[in-house]
Symmetry: C2
Subunit: 393 residues, 2 copies
Amino acid sequence: MNIKINDSFLKINDSYLFSTINKKVKKFISINPNADIIRLGIGDVTLPLSKVVIDALEKASAEMGVQKTFRGYPPEYGYDFLKEAIKKYYSRLNVTLDMDSIFCSDGAKSDLGNIVDIFGDNLVYIPNPVYPVYLDSNIMAGRRVRFMEGNKDNNFLILPKGDYECGIYYLCSPNNPCGTAYTYEELKKWVDFAKRTGSLIIYDSAYEAFIKGNEFVHSIYEIEGAKECAIEVCSFSKQAGFTGLRCGFTIIPLELEAMGHSINKLWSRRQATKFNGVSYPVQRAAEAALSPLGIAECMKNIDYYMENARMLSKLFDEKGIYYTGGKSSPYLWILCPKGMKSWDFFDYLLENANVVGTPGEGFGTCGEGYFRITSFNTHERTKEAIERLRKIL
Amino acid sequence: MNIKINDSFLKINDSYLFSTINKKVKKFISINPNADIIRLGIGDVTLPLSKVVIDALEKASAEMGVQKTFRGYPPEYGYDFLKEAIKKYYSRLNVTLDMDSIFCSDGAKSDLGNIVDIFGDNLVYIPNPVYPVYLDSNIMAGRRVRFMEGNKDNNFLILPKGDYECGIYYLCSPNNPCGTAYTYEELKKWVDFAKRTGSLIIYDSAYEAFIKGNEFVHSIYEIEGAKECAIEVCSFSKQAGFTGLRCGFTIIPLELEAMGHSINKLWSRRQATKFNGVSYPVQRAAEAALSPLGIAECMKNIDYYMENARMLSKLFDEKGIYYTGGKSSPYLWILCPKGMKSWDFFDYLLENANVVGTPGEGFGTCGEGYFRITSFNTHERTKEAIERLRKIL
């Protein structure tokens, strides 16, 4: 055909990071079919959904088979019952959300991928290393990107710098892949910076439910003034184990405006045009996940994963390996031993311990020489992996 | 904030067509709370999901609560079991699909909205009138649009014209909103045209399951050569009643290439980056909908709706009102009586018969003076609506 493609697609890696890892592991398995692979790589949950969530999912599924309770197209931005549950969830932080600021979706990845649609050609500041979707989606849109470098010196926690200009800033806290999180004071620096420079913060809080204690903030809206400068993207994937169910939401405050235009209105229009809502049974499941019993059951699962994180942390402490994360995050971000490069360490672990992790370089150039290990497997498998790692590290 | 928004958003209607209708109806209800509104407007199904579909949905939901059967992230483009079912479904047309050409999604609307991402600045030819997403998504992307005019003279069935150039062509058959469909010969004209001009056809077959008899094609791939020039977008929404469950799929043949670039590869990359797959229980439900029993049960529902279409057609035949559709489509596209304009007729129907339809003008300027009526309600409500319309038309 003689039609033009979007050239920007030629500027990104051929393959999305986790697709590449998948292929390498598949290939290894085909050569070593008896290998007992332990996956501590892709950030996927492993525990089944909690009872109150399953009950809601099953009940809503049954409703779809009965004329009286059957539902067709969902309301564009989510059923009120789910938006009310989200609003109530935020009230625990003393954050009051307008119902119209809540947009339910099939997941944070979709929202992060699609949010680029509504913005023009701005400077886009992206942490390095970080979840690859922020960068890839902006490169695909032909946007100008600047990296905010994470490293050992700043312990992979990025704060505003003097030479940062007006633009769109992606922040992720607790961070994927580094597991670091912002305190109130640190995030306030960002909000103040954004307000001072007229910038927008896109705040990814997918892992906020893993935060222990009161040291770190859960939502950027805990900071005064954030409603005028920040979008918050959230997910049920890690909090409630919904990676296979698909549900998330994005908060776009009504107060958020750029050069006279309401960002909320733009996203409303974008979603009304290109999205048809979240599956009804899934919305009921999400509502249940935010009920008091649902939250308690989700927290039990999170505590389970964090016990893995504790055991993994202990291993790296023992070995004197530098790492961040593992305390308020399911991710541990380790410095590869012996100055090994990320992908070399990936191969080393896969071949010598049959353990899969994620090479830090896949998250950005500043991730080179680092490696992400996840806490999402079972206790048994994590212990087994720890034993294997103990021998070869 | 001082950041730039996507200016193209300022070039489209403030509100998506069906959002606008929703608001008008809500307002009418608030003023006339006792009005018995019959909705023949938004193309939403009303019959509950069939038993085999519900069984699959419930079984998969239960699996998500048990460690042994719990599933996390779905494979990027859909589980093999669903892709196999789709491949088998197409084989009934003697069309053989490569597994890698099948991309499952949460619905045709998402795919149609997002497919613009992978293309560059081409001439985009869009029927007028047609489903608003094609136009809105391209305007949002700043694309140059030309309209292919449907009217009484061509009976709202658009064929290639001499002055049409190389570009991206959207076709919808059976058509939304006009209900017209292409025969083999007519669609072959399009495929030949596309091959001759190096154009791409984006073929929306969301309503193919409504086709009666052998006169019209179900898939563009029934035409030889279509794999080199066409993408096909499909949906479980209307066929299987999945408007509330959310599932669709897009076929991008491996043969499809533009100036040396594989379109399949581009969409693979786009989806791997910005989408996280379809909900597992919903995929099992879709698989069930494509089983022999599932198809039989879906066809029963479709026959039910088409009985409504038959009754509505009879009314308009009786009144001598020009219309298209209603035979292989759940939509009837009528000429507004007395030369009334679309939105005036919308108000007239709402106020005098408490019936909601969709103003043709909402689908494009060539829809002015026309009106879309849907067959998706119950027999009882459709009969009631017909009686009311009979009095006022």
